[in-house]
């Protein structure tokens, strides 16, 4: 078993509860996105799983065992926490060689992961000459070093150029296909939606959701239909007559009908003989779902969050 199990995990720093009675499991064979705003407790949870911080209460195990009890931990769990962690005056190769030696990982693996991360050509350079993107790649290389069945990556796309973002995304998807357990934290919604199969969402140290990606979106965002007719006011009146509440978009754009399905709207319009120019289902996005969830949670109903949530919604509408 290579599950990550977090049970009733709590971590307090002084009076602050960074992680609050958190319980969830990360399953193998899929990429689990670990979502939450900065300060929600994602990094703290990862440090607790790695035994770096001691929980106030509760447990975190990997494959049923505490991380600190693992004999050669890098062969079982690979983690990327902070891309700045490699010492600037060491070369990338020396950094990885030191890690490999501690877990009796053959030195040949160092060259393999450097190659995989696209760092072979610069492996002999001191890390201080690396860009943030190259340091991220080095951090990912370190995580892959022991060919582990469990990977935990904290914000791996941070500071990466578009090409590297695609690289890390494809890598995570491949690792999951190979049957590994992959937990990836992020605060970027669109990015997470592009690689995650499953989501664990945190807010203020608490678990807000633990669902498959699509299910999460469906539970949070109502299905909507966008419809345009040659006679929009007749169409609006018709739909209102059927109990729908169509909303006219600015600049006399199409109508948006909340909580509706294309099959129903199309049938109603056809029966009434109203000509339809456009009819489309609107998929909710992870961003909308996330904002809907966090707006529901009591601790998020500050004016600032609500404002930014509606701003994001507006900008999305505008894009459509």
């Amino acid at each position: 078993m290579t599950r990550i199990d977090v049970h009733e995990l709590t971590k307090e720093y002084g009076a602050t509860r960074a992680v609050d009675r958190l319980t969830f499991a990360v399953e193998p064979g899929r990429v689990t996105g670990f979502l939450g705003p900065n300060g929600a407790g994602k990094s703290t949870t990862m440090r607790l799983v790695l035994g770096l911080d001691r929980p106030t209460s509760g447990t975190a195990t990997v494959g049923g065992r505490a991380y600190t009890a693992l004999d050669a931990p890098l062969r079982q769990v690979g983690a990327l926490l902070d891309p700045q962690a490699a010492h600037g005056s060491r070369t990338a190769r020396a950094h990885l060689l030191a890690l490999a030696a501690s877990n009796r990982i053959p030195a040949r693996r160092v060259d393999e992961v450097l190659d995989e991360a696209g760092l072979s050509a610069v492996a002999g350079r001191r890390v201080k000459s690396y860009s943030l993107g190259m340091r991220q790649r080095l951090g990912v290389a370190a995580a892959l070093l022991g060919d582990p069945a469990v990977l935990m990556l904290d914000e791996p796309s941070n500071g990466l150029d578009p090409e590297s973002i695609i690289w890390v995304r494809e890598l995570m998807r491949r690792l999951a296909r190979e049957g590994r357990t992959v937990l990836v934290s992020s605060h970027l919604m669109n990015e997470t939606a592009s690689f995650a199969d499953h989501l664990v969402v945190l807010g203020r140290g608490r678990l807000l959701a633990d669902l498959p990606l699509q299910e999460f979106i469906d539970t949070q965002v109502q299905p909507r239909v966008r419809v345009r007719s040659s006679d929009d006011s007749a169409l609006a009146a018709l739909l209102e007559g059927h109990g729908y509440r169509p909303v006219r978009e600015p600049d006399s754009g199409p109508l948006t009908v909340a909580d509706a399905r294309v099959a129903d709207i199309g049938r109603i319009a056809a029966r009434a003989g109203v000509p339809i120019l456009e009819l489309a289902a609107q998929e909710g996005t992870l961003e909308e779902a996330y904002l809907a969830l966090t707006a529901d949670a009591v601790e998020y109903t500050s004016a600032r969050t609500a404002d930014s949530a509606s701003a994001v919604r507006e900008s999305q509408e505008a894009r459509r």
């Binding site: 440090r47 790695l50 035994g51 770096l52 911080d53 001691r54 991380y67 600190t68 693992l70 004999d71 050669a72 931990p73 890098l74 769990v77 983690a79 926490l81 902070d82 700045q84 962690a85 490699a86 010492h87 600037g88 005056s89 060491r90 070369t91 020396a94 950094h95 060689l97 030191a98 890690l99 030696a101 501690s102 877990n103 009796r104 370190a142």
Partner: protein
Amino acid sequence: MSFTAVLHSEWIKIKSLRGPAGSLLAVLLVTLGVTALAFATIGQAEADNPGAEPLYDAFYALNFGQVAALAFGATAISSEYLNGALRVSLAAVPRRTHFYAAKIAVIGGLALATGLVTAFAAFLLGQSFMGSYAIGLDHPGAVRACVGAGVYLALLALLAAGLATVLRSGVAVLSILIPFVLIVPFVIGDVAGSVAEFLPDRAGQQVLHAAPAGHLGPWSGLAVCAAWSAAAVLAGLWTLRRRDA
């Protein structure tokens, strides 16, 4: 988890950093450089002084080399406290006692080897300038003093390493230890008399005297110095095991 594997890892780490390697080299070069300078110029003139003590004076340059030994111990540890490097180290070696013991062993071993080479080389180099005043390794207590000086340098490096683990900073350690080792004994030395004898540097340097005066003998003095280092190293272990990384 194999201790030799962790030891190997720490060896790779320390030799791939410029700071510790440079400090270690400085122990040798500073001590030899100051020895050459002092003995080539005023060595023979000083030997005529009534208070001259040929064996103890042979290690005059140790006062400078020991600062580099402190710097070595401090920088070898403080590199772990930059940008979360310790988290990467402890994720690879979660058994903190293993991790720390390997680190201390590598620091102590390297400092001892360098210290011994430095002590013998400085002794022989200095005496080569002394003409008719020169003493050899057959001088009473000379070999003991050379070995003791090497051990003393290693103990200072460990003192700094232990304290750097407690304070999580090399700069903090050096700003405490350099005054503590270099200045405090001079200032309070004559006033507090017997108390100053038990400070790490005074106690540790007893081994350099052919016939040490005061409460501590050559080896008991070194043992007191070792007790300071052991206290610092154990305090470091206690903090490392207890604290969140």
